[in-house]
Every structure is written in structure tokens, then in C-alpha cells.
Symmetry: C2
Subunit: 267 residues, 2 copies
């Protein structure tokens, strides 16, 4: 990637002398669906009142996608998931200058962390680095939230109840949700978010939660069924005094086919 320096002349090179000040990270917006709500997996840090998205540095010999996959796997235990890059965030001096309060909190946390790690930590908090945002859609029931060594809790939080997050993580989350909305016009979703069998109402509510607006039941049903990605299963007898809904499951072949080709509708 030699041409990277095309933009520089010798004089400009000088300000690159401190070479070790940049690093790369990934942040994952991991979304699940539960009780009619869209939830995101967040970390609560040790010692201080800090919430953040799960993330991690990219290893030297690791592909970018692999780093995101690893973070997701470490926090949820899941291996087969929908994972997609959506944007890279790279404002300069994000940590020290723009978020001095967060920086102070982190400094205090690091004082309480064993020395072996601290030395390393203290270096990277002062660095400027980029972070690439990924979002994942997972089956919340199957996930096993696990905190890392800097966090004390790893929890599902409703999209509507997200607290203030570390630095620009609220922006990253918001961007992910907007990206997901757009993706609905291209991709079928639900396979990784819903259980094996589900009702049409489950699927509709999922869509409604994501796009944040109500859909007409009858039209939604026809639209989805026409995609041909669902197999109708037995009825679900809930005990309620009304007509029992059919259960559906995703037809994997058809589903993957439509994912490849894309669909041309909008909600």
C-alpha cells in the first residue's frame, strides 16, 4: 500500500515520527430480540459508572472481520451469526480531548488494575485510534453474555433504555440502527434473531420495532409470504379464545437465496 504516502512530502513526514500512536479497534453492536423489544448487549465496567459497547483491539495477524467475530464470540459464546461491518469512526483525539470525563474515569480504573496490564493500558488510552463498527443480529436466548476482565457485567439493554455510553458509543449505536433500517429493504432478517419457530405476529413486531412504526397486519403477511422464505408449520394453541396462528420457520435455502439476490421492497 505504498501510495499511502503519495499525499505527503518530506516535510509532512516529520509529524508522523511518533509512529506508535495509532491503533485499530472494532466495536460491536450486538442486537437481540426479546419480549417484543430490541435489545443491545452492553458492558458495565468495574469501579466506575461506565457503560460501553463490547469491542476489542485488532491483533497484528488478524483480519478485521475476524476481530469482530472474535469479540462477538467472546461476549456471547455464539459462533454462527449475522455479522456485518457498517462504518469506521475516526475522529481525532476522541478519548483525551473530546471526552475528558471518560478519560479520567478510565484512568482511575486503571489504577486498580494489576500492574502487568496497567502498563499496557496506560499507553493505549492516550493513543489516537480508529474503530470499525460492526453489527450483529443474534438469538438472545442462545447467547451467553460474558463480561471481560475490565467489566463486571454484560447485559442485554432495551434499545429504548440505553444509558449514556463511553465516548462516542451512543453515536455508533445510533448509526448501526439506521444502517439496519436501510438494510431491511435489501435483506430478509429474523433468521438469526428469532427462535426456530415463530408466529407471523412475532416477525411483524420485530420489523415494527426496528423501523419504529406500525405495519398493517394483512399486508405484512402477504408481503413476507410472497418472498417464499417461510415454511408453514403446525398451529400454535395458546389457549386464548381466538383463532390459533400458524407457526413458521425459515426455509434456509430460499432464505439464503434471497439474501444473495436482495429484495426490492421498502416498508
Amino acid at each position: 500500500m505504498m501510495e499511502k504516502q503519495e499525499g505527503y512530502n518530506a516535510a509532512v513526514f516529520a509529524d508522523r515520527i511518533p509512529k506508535s500512536l495509532q491503533e485499530n479497534a472494532v466495536d460491536c453492536v450486538i442486537l437481540g430480540y426479546d419480549e417484543g423489544e430490541l435489545k443491545v448487549l452492553l458492558l458495565k465496567w468495574k469501579y466506575e459508572d461506565i457503560w460501553s459497547l463490547p469491542g476489542g483491539y485488532i491483533k497484528i495477524t488478524e483480519d478485521l472481520d475476524a476481530a469482530a467475530y472474535r469479540v462477538l464470540q467472546e461476549r456471547t459464546g455464539l459462533t454462527s451469526i449475522f455479522l456485518e461491518q457498517f462504518k469506521t469512526f475516526g475522529a481525532a483525539l476522541r478519548q483525551t480531548k473530546k471526552y475528558p470525563v471518560d478519560y479520567a474515569k478510565i484512568s482511575r480504573i486503571l489504577d486498580k488494575i494489576p500492574l502487568k496490564n496497567k502498563e499496557c493500558n496506560l499507553k493505549w488510552i492516550t493513543k489516537r485510534f480508529l474503530t470499525t463498527g460492526y453489527f450483529a443480529l443474534v438469538n438472545l436466548e442462545a447467547a451467553n453474555p460474558t463480561p471481560g476482565f475490565l467489566s463486571e457485567r454484560c447485559e442485554w439493554v432495551s434499545i429504548n433504555a440505553v444509558p449514556q455510553l463511553l465516548m462516542d458509543h451512543n453515536v455508533i449505536l445510533k448509526t448501526a440502527l439506521e444502517y439496519l433500517k436501510k438494510q431491511l429493504n435489501y435483506l430478509p432478517i429474523g433468521k438469526s434473531l428469532l427462535p426456530e419457530k415463530f408466529t407471523m405476529q412475532d416477525l411483524q413486531k420485530l420489523y415494527e420495532v426496528i423501523i419504529d412504526q406500525p405495519l398493517v397486519r394483512s399486508n405484512f403477511q402477504r408481503k413476507i409470504l410472497k418472498l417464499g422464505i417461510l415454511d408453514r408449520q403446525e398451529k400454535l394453541m395458546t389457549g386464548a379464545s381466538n383463532k390459533a396462528p400458524y407457526l413458521y420457520s425459515f426455509n434456509t435455502e430460499k432464505y439464503d437465496e434471497v439474501v444473495k439476490k436482495g429484495i426490492g421492497f421498502s416498508f
Copy 2:
């Protein structure tokens, strides 16, 4: 961005000790439109047969977007342009392992570059780094292609005649073009690609070149006009023995409005 290390335990930290092996770059797919063809701005390197996209490292105190903007400005002289991030590429060991031939060529080039730069160069070619892809749509006539100190030429090359590029730059270019196609369904384009005044045929050909398929003339006209982003100007008398077409210009307010809201059609 402290949570970046959540994914690591102390043992894993060890393999991050060589901290200065990662850097960040941008690569720009700069597209122009000329003589009915979509063209991309490429650099021909000194000494060796290497072509590449223009790119550059991100400075420590520079925002990611600003780096892309700077690269574009340095290569074209243009300041007001359409510029958008589309994806970050981060395969590990892109340069040394996956592209040994390119690596050898670059090594030879560096042997011929003044020592002051070489020292720095030799370091970064061995590094692993990410590159964030941006694409820009510019008025080819207004641009002033300018090579950098490692390149001898900076030229517009037809999309259909792109040579083999440095490392994964062909993939980056291809990804940019696919992204642009998708964007056509959301955004009006042309304002930054076409001259002030243009005919409907000019605009249609531009769309046809981008999506790589013919469009029905009459329907295209109505579709575009309905967006309300064009102002009709005087007729263009070409001297040809047929009806003179109107010239159009983009209505900036309407155009920007539609860019914000997005449009819901597909070609």
C-alpha cells in the same frame, strides 16, 4: 475507547507488545464522467509498473474524513466535492504475504528514493494496516490531476480499461462501484459529476454507465423530472438536424433536500 481490550485476557496482551505495527490509511476511488465514460483517477508509480488508487496515511491529529478529503484535494485540487466512506479493508498481512511481487517492486522503488524518506518508507511497508475506502464524484473537467512524490503520472482511466492495480486495489474499486450502484436508489447523483448545464441525455448516459444497463428514454426523463431537482434552461442548438434538447441545471435547494430525505426508486 477502553473497552477495546475487553476481549483480551492478560495472556493475549502479550502478542500486542510490538505496538507500532499497525497504521491506518485511506484510499480514494475518485470518479469522473467524460465522453460518455465513467473514469477513475489512478496513479502510475515511478520506476516500476505499478498502478494504484490515490491514498494516504491518516495523521495523528486528523479526522478520518479529513484525511480522505485531503488526499482528494491534493490529487485533484478540488475542494467542494461529493465524498463518502464506503468500507474499511483489513485483511492481515496484505502487503508482504499476499502480494510478494508488489512488495518486491516497492522495495526496489524505495532503493531509488532519497534516504530521508526511505527510512520511513521501509518501516511502513512491512507494517500491517487497515485502509478505509472512500469514493468521490467529481467534475472531471474541473479537476487538475497531480502526482505525488512517489508517482510519475496521475491520470483518468476508463472504468472499462483499468489495469491490474497494487495489491487489493482492484477489489476496493469494485466494491466502490457496487456501493455506488446501490446508492443510486437513495440519492440523486450528477451534481458533482456533470457540468453546470447538461442535457437529459447526458444525465441518462451517466446513469446507464453506472448501472451498466440501458434505460428507456421517455421513462427516465419523467422519473427524474418528477424528483423536482432540475431547472429547465434554454435549448441547446447543436446544429444537428433534429429537435434541440433542453439544457438542465440542478436546483441546489431541491437537490440537497432530496439528498437528505432520500428517494425511493430503483432502476
